[in-house]
Amino acid sequence: MSSGAPNGAARTGFATAVARVGARWVRILAASARMQILVIRSHPAVPITAVVQPVVFYVVMAGQHGGADSPAQRASRLIAILLTSLWGATLWAVGGILRREIAEGTLARNLTSLTDPRLVVIGKCLGSSLLVLTTLVGTSLVLALVTGARVPLDAVPWMLLGAVLVALSGTALGFALCSLFVLTRHAVHVTAALTYPVFILGGLLIPTSLIPGQLSWLSRLISLYWADQFLGRVAGGGAVPLTALSMLVLLITLYYVTGHVLFRRVVDRARRKGTIDLG
C-alpha cells in the first residue's frame, strides 16, 4: 500500500512530461507547417498542379463513356484525377523543401538547433501537403458540382479519413523525396522525370488492367493506388475496403522510415563533405 502513492506520482509525472513533449512537438510541427504554407502559397507549382492540371485531365477524359456515365463513376474518376494531380503536386511542392532550405541557407541552422531537424522538415512537408490537398479538394468539389458527380452522405466520414491519410501519405512521400532531391544539382529535371512513372503505374487514371502483367505489381507499392482503391470504393457506396486501408497505413509508415534513413544519410554525407549550405 505504501509504495502505491509514489508509483502513481511517478506515473503522473511521466504522463505530464510526455504530454509536455507532445505539445512541444505539435507546436513545432504547426509552426513549420504554417511557415511552409506562407512560403509556397504564391509558388506557381500550386495553382498549376492543384488547379490547372486536374481541370485539364478532366477535359481530356470528358469523352470517356461518351459522357453517359453514372454520378458514382464520375466521382470515381474525379478521385483518380485528384490523386494523380496530388502526385505531381507532392513532387513539386513537397519534394523541394530541403533544396530550398539549402538555397536559403537555413539548413545549417536547422541542423544545429535544439529542435530535432526532422520535426521541422516533416512539419514543412505537412504544410505543403495540406495546402496542395486543400486546393485539390476545392478544385475537385467545383468539378463535382459542374459534372454532377455525387458521393453517398454516409461515405463522407470515410472520405474524410481517406483525405487525412492521403495528406499523411503526401507528407511521408515528400519527406523521403526531399532528401533524394538534394543529391543532384538538376533536381528540377529529376522531379519532372519522376512524374510519369507514377501516372502510368499508379493504377489511378490508367487502370492496372492496361499495364503489362510484369509491371502491374509495382502499383501495389504506391500509396496513392491504395488511396484510390479505398476512396473509390467508399465513394461508390461499397463496403469499407480494409485491405486498402491497411496497405495505405503500412506504406505511409514505410515511406516515413525510408525518409528517416535517407535524411540521416544525406545529412551525414553533407557534414562529411562540408556541403551543408552548398547542396
Binding site: P44, A45, P47, I48, V52, Q53, V55, V56, V59, V60, M61, A62, G63, Q64, G67, H186, H189, V190, A192, A193, T195, Y196, P197, F199, I200, L205, I206, P207, L210
Partner: protein, 263 residues
C-alpha cells in the same frame, strides 16, 4: 558572309551554349528523354481509355507533337528570362541586333530539341505502343511536326515575352502548355459539352497542325489546316515581337532594365 548574317549566327551559337549550360546532355539523356517517352505512353494510354484503339492512335499522333512543347512552350521561356536573371538586358539594348531578333535566334535550340523529342517519341514509343505499322505514314508527315514545333515555339516566345519583368515564366509556360493540351485536341477530340474550348484551340498552336497531320495520314485534304497553322504561328510571332518591342521601349523610357519594369 555579310556582317548582319554573322551577327545572327553568333546569336544562334550563344543560344546553343546557353541551352547546353541549362540542359546538359547527360541530364537530358537520363531525365528529360525518359520522361518524354513516358509522357507519350501516358497520353496514348489515356487516349486508349477514352476512345479504344482508334482513340489510342489519335492520342499517339497528338502525343508526338505535344512532346515538343516541353522545350518549345515551357523551356523557351528561359530565353528572355536569362537576361533578366543575369542582369544583362542592357547589353542587348546596346547591341547591333534588336532584342526580338536575338530572342528568335536563341529560340532555335529549343525548336530543334522540341522537334527531336517528337521524333524520339515517334520512333521509340511507336513500336512499344503497337504502332510500328504507322511509322511509315507518320515519318512522311515529319515536316508537319516540324511546323507544329515551330508554331509552338512562337507561342512559347510570346508567353515568355509577357512573363519578362516578373517571375511568372514558370506559370505562363506551364499554363500555355496545359491550354494546348486541353484545347488543341491532343489526346482526344473535345467532348460535345466542351466544344466552346475549340474556339480557344483555333488560335493555339498544334490544333490545326494536328488536324493537317491526321488528315494527311488518312489521305484527306490537309493544305487548308496547314495554312491555318502557319497563320497561328505568324500571329504568335507578331505578338512576341510586339511585346518585346513595347517592353524595350517602356524600359528605355523609364531608364530601367526590362527586369525592373514592375518594381
Amino acid at each position: 558572309m555579310g556582317e548582319h548574317a554573322r551577327r545572327h549566327l553568333e546569336a544562334i551559337r550563344t543560344g546553343y551554349l546557353i541551352y547546353l549550360a541549362d540542359n546538359p546532355l547527360k541530364v537530358q539523356l537520363t531525365t528529360t528523354l525518359p520522361r518524354l517517352l513516358l509522357q507519350g505512353i501516358f497520353y496514348t494510354m489515356l487516349g486508349r481509355l477514352v476512345g479504344g484503339q482508334s482513340g489510342a492512335h489519335f492520342a499517339f499522333i497528338g502525343a508526338i507533337a505535344f512532346a515538343a512543347c516541353t522545350d518549345t512552350v515551357i523551356g523557351v521561356c528561359d530565353v528572355p528570362m536569362t537576361d533578366q536573371w543575369s542582369g544583362t538586358y542592357y547589353r542587348l539594348q546596346t547591341g547591333a541586333l534588336p532584342p526580338g531578333a536575338v530572342y528568335l535566334c536563341r529560340s532555335l535550340p529549343y525548336l530543334t530539341s522540341g522537334f527531336l523529342y517528337s521524333l524520339l517519341v515517334l520512333l521509340v514509343d511507336g513500336p512499344v505502343l503497337g504502332f510500328a505499322g504507322s511509322l511509315g505514314s507518320l515519318t512522311a508527315v515529319l515536316p508537319l511536326y516540324l511546323l507544329t514545333a515551330t508554331t509552338s515555339t512562337m507561342f512559347g516566345l510570346a508567353l515568355a515575352a509577357l512573363a519578362v519583368g516578373g517571375s511568372r515564366d514558370v506559370l505562363y509556360g506551364n499554363l500555355g502548355s496545359y491550354f494546348v493540351l486541353a484545347a488543341s485536341a491532343i489526346v482526344s477530340p473535345l467532348a460535345s459539352k466542351l466544344r466552346w474550348l475549340a474556339v480557344l484551340g483555333e488560335v493555339l498552336p498544334l490544333g490545326h497542325g494536328l488536324k493537317a497531320i491526321r488528315a494527311a495520314t488518312a489521305g484527306s485534304p490537309w493544305l487548308v489546316q496547314l495554312a491555318l497553322e502557319v497563320l497561328v504561328g505568324l500571329g504568335w510571332l507578331a505578338v512576341a515581337l510586339l511585346v518585346v518591342q513595347a517592353r524595350d521601349r517602356a524600359a528605355r523610357g523609364r531608364r530601367v532594365s526590362v527586369g525592373r519594369l514592375h518594381s
